[in-house]
């Protein structure tokens, strides 16, 4: 193996270690199934990423401040199968989201449903929630508890 190849391999390894890759995690590791929340706010961004999508919603707190919540969903392919389309989620649209609070104390949650206030259309986020019995593995991108 040439010196250049070794240097390239080491560099790629270091680069990979430094990148903030999103892990495919279990529901229980990141979210608390005992803490259901419902948020009402406006969409600021939708990130169609793998292995989870992320919806960002601006929500007013009781004291009038605006907090941007990050809501994790299933992967884009799973969302598409459930009827999600990019045009359904314009920036500024009012939505009501059900989900489960993250364990780390941040404004992050696992979304189960997203309801578009203007039309009443309800979209399933493909997240496992707390459904019983145990979820079949696969498209949710997370495992219930």
């Amino acid at each position: 193996m040439s010196r250049n190849v070794i240097i390239a391999a080491v560099s790629l390894g270091a680069l990979g270690a430094a990148l903030p890759l999103e892990a495919h995690h279990s529901f229980a590791a990141q979210y608390d199934a005992n803490k259901p929340i419902t948020l009402r706010g406006t969409i600021s961004r939708m990130l169609w990423s793998n292995p989870h999508g992320h919806l960002y919603v601006d929500v007013k707190t009781p004291d009038g401040k605006v907090v941007t919540w990050e809501l994790e969903t299933a992967a884009p392919a799973g969302l598409y199968r459930r009827g999600w389309r990019r045009e359904d989620l314009p920036v500024g649209a009012e939505v009501v989201i059900r989900g489960y609070l993250a364990r780390d104390g941040t404004a992050t949650a696992n979304a189960t449903t997203v309801t578009l206030v203007a039309t009443g259309k309800e979209l399933f986020a493909g997240s496992p929630g707390t459904g019983a019995p145990e979820e079949p593995p696969g498209e949710t991108g997370a495992t219930v508890r």
Binding site: D32, P36, T38, T61, F124, P128, T130, T140
Partner: protein, 153 residues
């Protein structure tokens, strides 16, 4: 005539006696409504319930997959009780409505960004070895109702 009257009163009392929910119950996903279980669940239900009904109390061990069970002890006279769900505040009241038991609860999740309140109303009914729970969950003006069917283990 007295015998007939006594029998009639006895039968009426028996008809009005509340059901006994005691037992170990397991959810039947196939018989439950579509939004009660699985990846598209709108309303969450436990996978198992272990119920002991005695005197004026209903002790319910609520089991979800891969998590510690919660034990709720409801007063059947409508008195308010605290349900020891970790990390949240939950208060509940249970009362009979005819042959059905209604459990109304409010759960508050406190965060640095405000409190989140979810109200639930469960209606329990029993027919033989089948326990049916119809649950309505509401928050932020949205309400969803789903039905779960449990069978005796």
């Amino acid at each position: 005539m007295v015998v007939t009257l006594v029998a009639a009163v006895s039968m009426a009392s028996a008809a009005q006696a509340p059901p006994d929910f005691s037992g170990h119950w397991k959810i039947n996903q196939a018989k439950s409504s579509a939004g009660a279980t699985g990846n598209n669940a709108k309303v969450s239900f436990p996978s198992e319930l272990v119920v002991a009904q005695q005197g004026g109390d209903l002790r319910v061990e609520i089991r979800y997959p891969r998590t510690d069970p919660v034990i709720a002890i409801y007063k059947l006279d409508g008195g308010e009780v605290a349900v020891p769900v970790p990390g949240v505040t939950e208060k509940a009241k249970a009362a009979w409505e005819g042959g059905r038991l209604v459990i109304a609860a409010q759960r508050v999740v406190s965060t640095p960004f405000g409190n989140f309140v979810t109200d639930t109303r469960e209606v329990w009914s029993r027919s033989g070895d089948v326990l049916t729970i119809r649950k309505t969950q509401s928050s932020e003006g949205l309400a969803e109702t789903e039905t779960a069917v449990f069978e005796k283990n």
